[in-house]
C-alpha cells in the first residue's frame, strides 16, 4: 500500500491537450474515484499513473518517490481494465498467477496465493476454465482477482463495472466497497458513472477537458460544487441553474432572472449589481399553497421512477425540475406554487462558486 502524488501532469496527443496541470494527492488506503464525462482525460491519467503512457510534464510519486523512470512492471501497481483484458489462451488460474510468475515467485507460493484470491472472490471453482467459458460477471471477478493476487502498492481500475448489466453492477459495487474496507488498499478508480463515484469514493476527483475541477468527499462535492460544471454534472436530475443578476429591494437582495425573481433572504454576500448563476437542487424545492413570495410554475411532464416522482415544470421559457413524493398527483398544464430552501442555494459567479 502506498500514497500517490501527482504533480502538474500534462500530456498532449498531437495538438489536443489530454491532460493539463493535474495535481492530485491520494492518501494511503484511500479509495479515490476519477469522475468525468468521456474524453475528459481520466483514463489517460490512469495510464500515466500505470506508466503505460508517458506524460509530457509533471511527476508521478508513489510514497513520495518519483516513479517516472520506472516501466509499468517496476511500479508495483495492478490494473483492472474495462474490457478485463484476460489472456484468452490461459486458464483462470494462469491468468491470476501470471503477474506472480513474471516476478519469479516460486510455484507453490503462486498456487497458494491464486487459491486464496480465488476463494476470496468466490471463483475457486473456475480455476481451470478459459476466459471464453466464463460469464461476464465471472470474467470481471477474474480481472479483479488478477489485480488482487499480487498485493501491489496501488490498484488502478478503469471503468471495471461498465460491461456488467445493471443488477450485477449494483452487487459488485457493494462487494468492491466491502473488499476495500477489508483490505485497506489504495485505489484509483475511473468511472463516468456518478452513482458509482458517489457510493464508492472516499475521495472524488471531478475532471473535465483534462483538468481537475474539484476534489473532495462525495457529500462535499454534492453539496458544495465548486463550479457550474460540477454542479450540473453531479446529481440526477440535474441541478436547476439560472442566469441572472442580484438586485436590491430595500434592504434585501433579490435575484432577478430572465423569467422570475426571487427574494434571497439574508444573503450576506455583497453581490448586489453582479451577474450570477443561481442554482438549487430538485430536492430543495417544496410545493406550497399560493402566497407571498411563492413561485408559480406550470407542470410540463411528470416522470415516475417508482420511489418518487420528478416534476418537470416551466417558468416562462425556462425549466425547473423538482422531486416530489411518490403519491403526489399533478396533471400537465396545472399551475403549482413552489418555495425554495434558501439555505441550500448555490451561487456561481463567472461559473465559479461564491460562498
Amino acid at each position: 500500500m502506498a500514497s500517490l502524488t501527482l504533480k502538474g501532469i500534462g500530456k498532449r496527443f498531437g495538438k489536443t491537450a489530454a491532460l493539463s496541470g493535474v495535481d492530485l494527492q491520494v492518501e494511503d488506503g484511500k479509495f479515490c474515484v476519477l469522475l468525468g464525462p468521456s474524453g475528459c482525460g481520466k483514463s489517460t491519467l490512469l495510464n500515466v499513473i500505470a506508466g503505460l503512457v508517458p506524460q509530457d510534464k509533471g511527476t508521478v510519486e508513489l510514497d513520495g518517490h518519483s516513479v517516472d523512470r520506472l516501466a509499468p512492471r517496476d511500479r508495483d501497481v495492478a490494473m483492472v481494465f474495462q474490457s478485463y483484458a484476460l489472456y484468452p489462451h490461459m486458464t483462470v488460474a494462469k491468468n491470476l498467477g501470471f503477474g506472480l510468475r513474471m516476478r519469479g515467485v516460486p510455484k507453490a507460493t503462486i498456487r497458494k496465493k491464486v487459491l486464496d484470491t480465488a476463494t476470496l472472490l468466490g471463483i475457486d471453482d473456475l480455476l481451470n476454465r478459459k476466459p471464453r467459458e466464463l460469464s461476464g460477471g465471472q470474467r470481471q471477478r477474474v480481472a479483479m482477482g488478477r489485480a488482487l493476487v499480487r498485493k501491489p502498492k496501488l490498484f488502478l481500475l478503469d471503468e471495471p463495472l461498465s460491461n456488467l448489466d445493471a443488477r450485477l453492477r449494483a452487487n459488485v459495487r457493494l462487494e468492491l466497497k466491502q473488499l476495500h474496507s477489508q483490505l485497506k488498499t489504495t485505489i484509483v478508480y475511473v468511472t463516468h458513472d456518478q452513482v458509482e463515484a458517489m457510493t464508492l469514493g472516499e475521495k472524488v476527483v471531478v475532471m473535465r477537458d483534462g483538468a481537475v475541477r474539484q476534489t473532495g468527499r462525495p457529500e462535499t462535492i454534492y453539496s458544495f460544487p465548486a463550479d457550474t460544471f460540477v454542479a450540473t454534472f453531479i446529481g440526477s436530475p440535474e441541478m436547476n441553474l439560472y442566469r441572472g443578476m442580484i438586485l436590491r429591494n430595500g434592504e434585501r437582495p433579490v435575484f432577478q432572472g430572465r423569467e422570475f425573481h426571487m427574494d434571497m433572504g439574508n444573503l450576506r454576500l455583497n453581490l448586489v449589481g453582479r451577474g450570477v448563476d443561481l442554482g438549487f437542487r430538485p430536492e430543495d424545492v417544496r410545493i406550497v399553497e399560493a402566497g407571498a413570495g411563492t413561485l408559480p410554475v406550470k407542470v410540463e411532464m411528470i416522470s415516475d421512477v417508482g420511489s418518487e416522482k420528478f416534476i418537470h415544470t416551466q417558468i416562462g421559457q425556462e425549466h425547473l425540475t423538482l422531486r416530489a413524493p411518490k403519491d403526489a398527483s399533478f396533471r400537465p398544464d396545472e399551475i403549482i406554487n413552489l418555495t425554495i430552501d434558501l439555505t441550500r442555494l448555490h451561487i456561481f459567479q463567472k461559473g465559479v462558486r461564491v460562498d
Partner: protein, 282 residues
Amino acid sequence: MTREALERSIIRLIRIAGILFFAVIVAFPFYWMIVSSLRPLEEILMNPANLGLDFRKIDLSAYYDVLFDHGFIRYILNSLYVSIITVALSLTLATVGGYAVTRLRFRGQSFMSYSILIIYMFPAIVLVIPLYVIFSHMGFRDSINVLILVYLAQTLPVALYMLRSYFKTLPLEMENAGLIDGCSRFGVIWRIIIPLSAPALASVALYTFMIAWNEFLFAFMFLDTPDKFTLSRGVVQLAGSVHLSKQLVMAASVLVTLPILLLFLFFERYLVRGMTSGAMKG
C-alpha cells in the same frame, strides 16, 4: 413458368455444368501427373489416350530411380532446409517488426507501410540479374544460404504486412495488462502476442513455406552444383536430361507437388486467410 423460376432452373443447369467443368480442368492435370508417374514408358507410347489406371500394372520404379539414381533425396532435404529456415527467419523477424510497426511510435511509420506494399509488388525478374552479378562477383552465388536470404527478402515484407494487420486487431488493453503484470516489450510479444496470433502466424508460415518451396527462378539462376539443388531446380534438371522418360519427370513432379498440396489440404483455412488478407503473389 415465371421468369424467376425459369432463370432459377437455367442457373441450376449452369451451376452443375460449371462445377463439372472447373472440377475437371483443375483436377485432371494432377490426376494425370500421378497416373503417368505410375505407368511405364512403353505403355504411354503404346496407348497415350488411355485415361484409366490399371492397378495391376502400377509401376513404382520411377520413384525409385528419381530418388536414388537422380539424387532427389538430396533435393528434398535441400528444399526442406531452405523452406524451413526461411519460414523460421521470416516469422521471427516479421513478428518483431510487425509489432514495432503496430504499437511503437516512431517517425516514418506510414512510409514504412507504403514501402512494404511496393516491395510486395516487386517482381523477381527485375532483381535476378543484379543479384546474379553481385553474388557472382563476390563468389558466393552458388549457395543455398544466399538463396535463403533472397527468399527472406521476398517474403519478409509481406509477412510483416500480414502480421501488422493482425496485430492491429488485438486489444491494446491485453498488452497493457501484460506490461503491468511484469512483462518487458519482448515478454509481451512472446507470452501474449504470439499465443494470440497463432492463426495469423500459421498463415504466414504457410505462405512463406509455399514461396520458398515452389520458387524456381532464383534457384535456377543461382545454383550450379547438383548437391545444392532444390526440388524445383532438380525437376528442371531432370526434365532436361531424360527428355523422353515422361514417367520420371512426372514422378519428380509428384514429389515436388505432394508435400505442398498435403500441407495445404491440412491447413487450408489458414492459407486461404493468408491469401485474402492480401498476401499472395505470383
